[in-house]
């Protein structure tokens, strides 16, 4: 995908997300949407991580495809932690709303680390992919540690 096309895709997604937020779905729908996004992140990052850990054979094309998908879905959840979404079928901790700046900073960190993955994946440098996957995993984890209820 060319840079322009990717930019366009991101812009469309961003505008869609904003539009969706402006309409402000019901809290229970917001919870569903962010969960779906996390599932997609789990799928895309999980595949890359499995390659990084040697559990799945390394495949440059597949890594790049998953990385692109991860970048897109990583930007979705932040729009769906609106008012009233702390209650219901969720493991989001109330601290998200009481420590919003910290939560947003961790979300930013995750999004920016994920954004580096496609380029790294396209170099075909397996060691570099491993390093970047680790950085993304740590960014995910630091937020889960503070803001997700343990099972």
């Amino acid at each position: 995908m060319t840079r322009n096309k990717r930019f366009l895709a991101l812009a469309v997604l961003g505008v869609t997300a904003l539009a969706v937020q402006a309409q402000s779905p019901k809290p229970e729908d917001q919870i569903k949407l962010r969960k779906a996004a996390y599932d997609m992140m789990g799928y895309s990052f999980g595949g890359i991580n499995a390659m990084a850990e040697g559990k799945r054979p390394y495949d440059k094309e597949e890594a790049a495809r998953l990385a692109d998908l991860l970048v897109q879905v990583s930007m979705v959840p932040r729009h769906f932690f609106g008012e009233g979404t702390d209650k219901g079928e969720t493991r989001a901790k109330p601290e998200i709303w009481t420590h919003r700046a910290d939560f947003d900073a961790k979300m930013d960190k995750m999004v920016s680390e994920a954004a580096k993955l496609p380029a790294v994946a396209r170099t075909g440098d397996e060691a570099a992919l491993k390093r970047q996957a680790k950085a993304v995993g740590e960014a995910c984890g630091s937020c889960h540690d503070d803001f997700r209820v343990k099972r």
Partner: protein, 226 residues
């Protein structure tokens, strides 16, 4: 032939020459397990970035438990399950004799302590077993989690979560009981877990079993999941 013990810990404190120390394989198992269980507990708590180590520690515990299981079947006389797993009535009688003021250490595990060993081994086996199928719903999952349904993974993860408190309870009980023997009854139970003698036969059998346990674990967590 059993080599003479370096010292008789029971004698030093209680005046009864009751036993020599535990054999080396049992002592090694005990202290390594204690260290790894502590390490696992901590790395399971402090955050996701430690889960890699939490998992490795769990694999080492699997190897230790496999070894102990085998050691309980063909190991030194005092380490064998057949020698220390007694009827509940025997455990009860032992407690009565203790409260009646009898102060001596039977060789090996006492009839109540034997059940404590069984309970700890069973809970730890449940913990490492469920750990193999658990995940943290992000970047870590046990090596067998991919082999079963998500519903099963959730169930395993939740058992893995609450069973830690069963283990914690047993460990606290264990430490309390050891302290009670050591400092209230003044029977030396720590010494025999530090010093002891091992027959040549036991050393050889233990080395073979340890190698087998490591291989079996490697197969279970690395080869089989591929």
């Amino acid at each position: 032939m059993r080599i003479l013990p370096r010292r008789l810990p029971g004698e030093a404190l209680s005046g009864h020459a009751t036993r020599s120390g535990w054999d080396f394989p049992t002592r090694f198992f005990h202290w390594t397990l204690a260290a790894l269980v502590t390490f696992s507990f901590v790395t399971g708590k402090v955050g996701e970035s430690w889960l890699v180590w939490h998992m490795k520690s769990g694999y080492a515990i699997i190897a230790l438990l496999l070894f102990r299981l085998a050691w309980g079947l063909v190991g030194s006389p005092e380490a064998r399950f057949a020698s220390f797993v007694r009827r509940p009535a025997a455990a009860l009688a032992y407690v009565r004799s203790l409260s009646a003021g009898k102060r001596e250490l039977p060789p090996g595990h006492n009839p109540l302590g034997g059940w404590s060993v069984v309970a700890m081994l069973a809970c730890l086996a449940l913990q490492v077993g469920t750990g193999l199928f658990s995940n943290d719903e992000s970047s870590h999952e046990g090596p067998l989690a991919a082999k079963v349904s998500d519903a099963m993974v959730d169930r395993m993860t939740s058992i893995h979560g609450w069973n830690q408190y069963a283990i914690l309870t047993l460990v606290v009980l264990h430490v309390a009981a050891i302290s009670f023997y050591q400092w209230r009854l003044r029977l030396d139970v720590l010494g025999p877990m530090v010093h002891g003698s091992t027959s040549k036969r036991d050393s050889i059998v233990a080395a073979v079993l340890a190698a087998l346990a490591v291989c079996a674990t490697y197969w279970l967590v690395v080869v089989y999941p591929r």
